[in-house]
């Protein structure tokens, strides 16, 4: 009985949570310009979206491309910078370590708008013209702390003697790093990269303040401008549906695989 009410509550919340997403999914299969007005089943929005992709001239598709590219570059650089930093921080002690960890926490705690405004002022102050580069730099700023945070526990788990054992067996420090340390840190680097990538994809405020006036749009800023003009581009509906479906499928696969691995480990 208790279990029934508990489950009922959980599913009630989930239905509330997913209603808007399902709503978009449903109305991605009709042609009407406004949502909520069903004009019959059609996949025209999807074909519009794909033909836009083919021709490569639609502003929406340019925004999608920018979003992905920026996220990819920012996540890659963040992973590199963050991993090196994590190794350094891990080997620091006392107040130095606490200090740099405190600085590392700031971008995570700061609301997006503060990060955005402060970086905007920085680029003004330095006289950088704002555009692609400044957006990527800004994204690296708020992504790297998450990489550091994901790599640090792996360093703590790692037996410090393995690095020395590699040196003892004749590896140069570079080889020891590549052949012994990196493989052990890889799970943390991968989850750091994924987290950085999704943080970058999700970002709106920081991009908004650092993109300048050259007409650079990511998906978020495109949606924002579009919505403020009133009336969403209908093609956003199939796009959102596709993105949502992709993430859903990916996460379910990842989690099922993890659950299976955990089960296997438990059975041992």
């Amino acid at each position: 009985m208790k279990k029934f009410f508990a489950q009922a509550y959980i599913w009630f919340l989930l239905i509330l949570l997913y209603a808007p997403l399902v709503f978009i999914g449903i109305f991605s299969f009709t042609e009407s310009r406004v949502m909520g007005n069903w004009t019959g089943f059609s996949t025209k929005l999807y074909s519009n979206l794909f033909s836009g992709m083919m021709q490569g001239d639609s502003a929406l598709m340019a925004a999608v491309k920018n979003t992905l590219l920026i996220a990819l570059i920012a996540a890659a650089i963040s992973t590199l910078l963050g991993t090196i930093a994590a190794i350094g921080i891990f080997n620091l002690k006392g107040r130095k370590k606490a200090g740099i960890q405190f600085l590392n926490n700031i971008p995570m705690i700061n609301p997006d708008i503060i990060t955005g405004v402060s970086l905007f002022l920085l680029f003004i102050f330095l006289g950088f013209s704002q555009g692609y580069t400044t957006v990527v730099l800004a994204h690296i700023t708020f992504c790297t702390p998450y990489v550091v945070l994901n790599v640090m526990p792996k360093l703590a788990q790692m037996n410090p003697n393995t690095y020395e054992a590699a040196l003892d067996l004749g590896a140069t420090p570079g080889q020891a790093l590549r052949k012994v340390m990196i493989p052990q840190l890889r799970p943390g680097m991968v989850s750091g990269f994924i987290l950085a990538f999704t943080m970058s994809l999700d970002d709106f405020a920081v991009t908004f303040f650092t993109r300048g006036t050259v007409g650079l749009d990511t998906l978020s800023t495109y949606i924002y401008t579009d919505a403020r003009k009133g009336g969403l581009t209908p093609e956003l509906r199939p796009l959102m549906t596709l993105i949502f479906a992709t993430i859903l499928i990916l996460l379910v696969i990842i989690n099922i695989r993890q659950a299976r691995l955990a089960k296997k480990a438990a059975a041992k």
């Binding site: 508990a6 489950q7 509550y9 959980i10 919340l13 989930l14 509330l16 949570l17 997913y18 808007p20 997403l21 978009i24 949502m35 963050g82 090196i84 930093a85 190794i87 350094g88 080997n91 740099i100 600085l103 590392n104 926490n105 700031i106 995570m108 705690i109 609301p111 997006d112 708008i113 503060i114 990060t115 405004v117 402060s118 970086l119 905007f120 002022l121 920085l122 003004i124 102050f125 730099l137 690296i140 998450y146 945070l149 526990p153 420090p173 994924i194 987290l195 999704t198 999700d202 709106f204 405020a205 978020s220 949606i223 924002y224 919505a227 969403l232 993430i247 996460l251 379910v252 989690n255």
Partner: protein, 258 residues
Amino acid sequence: MTIKRSSWSIPYLIFLLIFVVLPLVLIAIYAFQDGEGGFTFENIARFFTDQDSLSTFALSLEVAIENTAICLLLGYPAAYILARKDLNRSAVTVILFILPMWINALMRTLATAELFNVMGVTLGKGTLLFGMAYDYLPFMIYPIYNTLNKMDKSYSEAAEDLGATPGQVFRKVTLPLSMPGITSGIMMVFMPTVSTFAISEFLTNNKIKLFGTIIQENINSSMWNYGAALALIMLVIIGITTLFNDEDEAGKVEGGLI
């Protein structure tokens, strides 16, 4: 010989100084400058004397607090149920709650606003609160779920062993021990809601202006100094809120999302 490994932190330290510390210092500098670069208290004073700014500020705080409370009230029971093996066996429901965090917040908000529209609900404060609860509920549930899930079962068993009824076990042991999860949940919901701008515009059809929107409008219309002053005030609020939270709890939680 080889360089010490602790020195590997130096490039990142320099990066942090340029892209994190300096920008924050710049907010303070711009806040106390007039258009010509001279020192002034004008910008700060203007905020405290302008009725509109003050009431927007108060409204923002109110909305953020209310939204955080709604998320906590809805989210805690959900997190509790999810963490209890006897009430919820499936890991899928947990994933379903986390999943929306991966979807662009603007998209989710737009979808919610559209849904309200179709349902014929007038956009206003009510829709703002409900819409934001949609957006931020997962951020409340996840850290609380995490703390509860990791909590050693022997604490509640010990309490029961010492004579506590299930209700007393919850009040005297489970709830106090889940405080770290609650505080980081509050942080993760309160911080973005108090500073939000785009989301509130969508959910109220621009009827209600929040503090974040004013900052954005000032910056965008090149009133940098006043914008910086407002940002500084928000930074102070954020700083005060952070004091209530344990060290890097919020970060730890996010780090474990995957």
